[in-house]
């Protein structure tokens, strides 16, 4: 298992892309949570979290994303998720999970989507 690598990319106008690579579990989900909240605190209005390179995610990882999305909504910001629709992580394919956040197949789609 690999420690996740987190990259932050600011595109201006409050648009921030957070790339995650590796496994996202209870052992490290806090790190991602801190990064996401830091970005929101810094004024991000649109947070695109790319988990295309996350091979595994547990409910702690999911919770980190959901908490960030809740915080974002409070300040009229939004969190969108990018992952390959048919690919991992498995957790995103469970009933009910796919409706929790806006999900896109690629960063381009996420950025092009209105109001994301």
């Amino acid at each position: 298992m690999t420690e996740p690598e987190i990259t932050i990319e600011e595109l201006g106008d409050g648009v921030v892309i957070v790339g995650v690579a590796g496994d996202l579990t209870f052992a490290n989900a806090e790190r991602l949570a801190r990064e996401l909240h830091a970005a929101l605190d810094a004024g991000a209005v649109r947070l695109v979290v790319d988990v295309s390179d996350v091979g595994f995610m547990d409910s702690a990882g999911l919770a980190a994303l959901l908490r960030a999305a809740t915080t974002a909504r409070r300040s009229d910001a939004a969190v969108a998720l990018v992952h390959e629709p048919a690919g991992p992580p498995r957790i995103l394919h469970f009933k009910g999970v796919e409706q929790l956040m806006r999900m896109f197949g690629s960063r381009e789609q996420a950025l092009a989507a209105p109001g994301a």
């Binding site: 496994d23 579990t25 409910s59 999911l62 498995r90 009933k95």
Partner: protein, 734 residues
């Protein structure tokens, strides 16, 4: 009030008969006896009177409720042809009243007529043919009441009416009265028979329904059909599940859209008497009724309402005096509803009332039975890692009776499992008390006892001690997991044998039939033993399954075994469903008895089994350790199943770490994978948690997803308190 009587006029040559009065009277009598209706009688007798007596004018009237519902036939000679359009219904004024009131003939010359104190002249009747003189005879019923009269005027030979004319007319009047009476009697009898038949038909139809809405719809349709109503409706009160009252309605003769926009009728002056159950309201013209138009906001019918003048409303009262609702009928014309229609609807209303009461009682019974039934069956079976169990239960009938069959699964004092299927004699509340007693007695004693024989003997004592005696048959299996096998000790107290299906093929009937419980002080309860191993299957059932279609058709043990074997690859639930379906089909959908089915088998991965056990760090490092451990299973189970296993294992491990407190004992991960299923177990120190009821609802917030995912993905899962806590989950290999 407007007169609703009718008059017809016939004009033609009137000539004295050549054959003589007597012969003509006989002819008239013959014709009258063949007359089919009152109008025919009027026409025959009028023509006969005009011709036999020889008069230019002849008029016969059948009076009913005075002139209100009269029928009149007028015969005029060609000389009076100018008056052929004078078809005015007599107003019942003047001298003719003397005839109808006193029921005696009246013969007046021109002078006498004009001098008569009750002659009013013809000034009230413009267009009336001149009345030179007058001869009249009453139509008298056998009971002496007046039915009407025949009047003549202006003899053909210009002479006065003489005594003989009067005698002939009285004779004709008598013949006509007789004919009218018999025709009307027949018509009344016919109408009564038609009404009785219709009512009976409606009554039978209504009383065979148990669904409230069906009953009221049928009553509305029938009443609308059997009366001249243009449309009818039934407004009825319903008590909702929360105890709130509201009103529903059915319609007949008008589309639902005709009333869709209107509010429910309130207790206005018009509707009030019906909703208060005060009685029937029948009005010829509701728009002219003093009660009409007094209530805001519409002051009458709301705009767009179907036009109503004739109005008939009948309350539907229940036996306790409460009003279930009301039947309402309308017609755009005035005065279409008569007393007979009122009677008919009254009959339908009382039949509907009985049916509504039955429906309410039945609903109440179904509700009570269902509540009781739920209390008598375990809401959830315990999840036992080594034993897979599926059950099915079906009460006979349509759910109004509590069944007498039951099943239960609980832990015994020695840690093994008690699996019970029983059948209490009888059904309904009495059987329910015995069922409850049986289940709770066994469960209570299971805290200190483990021997099936002993437990059933204790239940036997309890049943015998009961005030209300009841007996039951019970199959009690004590199930002890032993390695991959299950050791079964079965005692059958008068119950059909269990069926053991062997993986290798073939089946055995298991159980030595002992004494039913609650009958003898010392029942014979011989135990039998068997071991079932991976791939085998044990089926317990009540006789309702094998005898669902008895005595015509039975479901023999061979067939039960064959059906179970056929369904087994699709899982245990499929097995019990298959058996229930087969029994129900055999009984053409209406099994004569309740049926309870329980199937169990070792929850041991079958085929080539791979096993791994790994000690994990109590901390973050465990996440990676789970992944490393499971990767070894990928060649066998495929990456997708392993990814799911990893997800569930990670959730269980994270849970264990969270609940481990200060414990330093390593967490143990255990996986056992066979061809059909994978068992995952995580054992740790900690206080554990209560098994929530399944299915676990989707969490609302960010937390709680771990157990939800586990519950979604695992076929079965559970929590066991061992030396510490052990959470296990079973996944099917597809």
């Amino acid at each position: 009030m407007t007169a609703t009587g009718q008059a017809r006029v016939g004009v033609g040559p009137i000539t004295l008969p050549e054959q003589g009065a007597l012969r003509s009277l006989a002819d008239a009598a013959l014709k009258l006896s063949a007359a089919m209706g009152v109008d025919d009688v009027l026409e025959i007798v009028t023509e006969a009177a005009a011709n036999i007596v020889g008069a230019h004018q002849a008029v016969t009237s059948r009076l009913e409720d005075g002139w209100e519902k009269s029928s009149t036939y007028v015969a005029l000679s060609e000389r009076y042809e100018a008056y052929r359009d004078y078809a005015e219904v007599p107003k019942g004024l003047g001298v003719l009243n003397v005839v109808t009131e006193e029921n005696r003939p009246l013969r007046l010359t021109a002078e006498e007529l004009r001098a008569h104190p009750r002659f009013r002249g013809l000034r009230d009747a413009p267009g009336h043919p001149p009345l030179p003189d007058y001869l009249a005879a009453p139509l008298v019923a056998r009971d002496g009441s007046n039915l009407g009269l025949i009047q003549l005027s202006h003899k053909l030979d210009e002479s006065d009416f003489h005594e003989e004319d009067e005698a002939v007319l009285v004779q004709l009047a008598q013949m006509a009265s007789g004919a009218i009476e018999s025709i009307e009697l027949l018509a009344r009898e016919h109408a009564a028979r038609v009404r009785a038949e219709a009512l009976q038909r409606v009554g039978t139809a209504i009383s065979s329904r148990l669904e409230l809405h069906e009953i009221v719809q049928l009553a509305t349709d029938a009443a609308t059909e059997l009366t001249p109503a243009a449309f009818g409706s039934f407004f009825y009160n319903v008590i909702g599940g929360e105890g709130e009252a509201y009103m529903l309605y059915t319609l007949s003769g008008a589309p639902a859209s005709a009333f869709a926009g209107f509010p429910m009728p309130r207790k206005t002056q018009v509707f009030g008497p019906t909703f208060d159950g005060e009685g029937i309201v029948r009005v010829d013209d509701i728009t002219r009724d003093p009660r009409y138009g007094h209530n805001d906001p519409h002051a009458g019918m709301p705009r767009g309402h179907l036009p109503v003048r004739s109005y008939l409303a009948v309350p539907v009262c229940l036996s306790d005096g409460s009003v279930a609702g009301g039947l309402f009928f309308g017609h755009p014309d005035a005065a279409v509803f008569g007393a007979d229609h009122e009677e008919l609807v009254r009959g339908i209303a009382s039949q509907a009332a009985i049916a509504i009461e039955n429906a309410r009682l039945y609903e109440e019974r179904v509700r009570t039975a269902q509540t009781l039934q739920q209390a008598l069956l375990p809401p959830e079976l315990p999840q036992i890692p080594e034993i897979q169990i599926a059950t099915s239960y079906r009460a006979a009938g349509e759910g109004a009776e509590v069944g007498g069959d039951f099943y239960d699964v609980f832990r015994l004092a020695d840690g093994s499992w008690g699996v019970v299927v029983g059948d209490v004699c009888g059904k309904g509340p009495r059987a329910a008390t015995v069922t409850a007693l049986a289940r709770y007695t066994l469960r209570a004693h299971a805290l200190t006892e483990s021997e099936p024989q002993r437990l059933l003997a204790l239940l036997n004592d309890a049943l015998l001690r009961q005030q209300v005696r009841g007996f039951c048959t019970v199959a009690f299996a004590r199930v002890r997991p032993h390695g991959d096998d299950l050791h079964i000790e079965l005692v059958s107290a008068g119950h059909p044998p269990a069926i053991v299906l062997r993986k290798a093929g073939g089946h055995e009937e298991l159980g030595e039939i002992g004494t039913p419980l609650g009958v003898l002080d010392a029942p014979v309860l011989p135990p039998v033993h068997a071991t079932i191993t991976s791939g085998d299957l044990l089926v317990l059932h009540t006789d309702g399954v094998t005898e669902a279609a008895a005595p015509e058709r039975m479901l023999p043990a061979d067939e039960v075994a064959a059906l179970a074997r056929e369904a087994a690859p699709s899982g245990l639930t499929a097995v019990v469903e298959q058996l229930e379906r087969a029994a129900v089909q055999l009984a053409d959908g209406a099994p004569r008895d309740d049926m309870a089915i329980l199937a169990l088998r070792p929850a041991t991965p079958a085929g080539t089994v791979v096993e791994l056990t790994r000690q994990l760090t109590t901390g973050g490092a465990a996440a990676a350790e789970v992944a490393e451990a499971l990767v070894a299973l990928e060649p066998r189970l495929g990456p997708e199943l392993v990814a799911d296993l990893r997800l569930l294992a990670t959730e269980l491990v994270a849970n264990a770490i969270r609940h481990s407190g200060k414990s330093t004992r390593p967490i143990e991960l255990h996986v056992r994978a066979g061809d059909d299923l994978v068992r995952l177990g995580v054992e740790s120190d900690g206080r554990g948690f209560e098994m929530p009821s399944r299915p676990i609802p989707q969490p609302e917030g960010a937390g709680g997803w771990g157990l939800y995912l586990l519950d979604q993905r695992a076929t079965r899962w559970g929590v066991e308190r061992v030396d510490g806590i052990r959470v296990w989950a079973e996944l099917e290999v597809r």
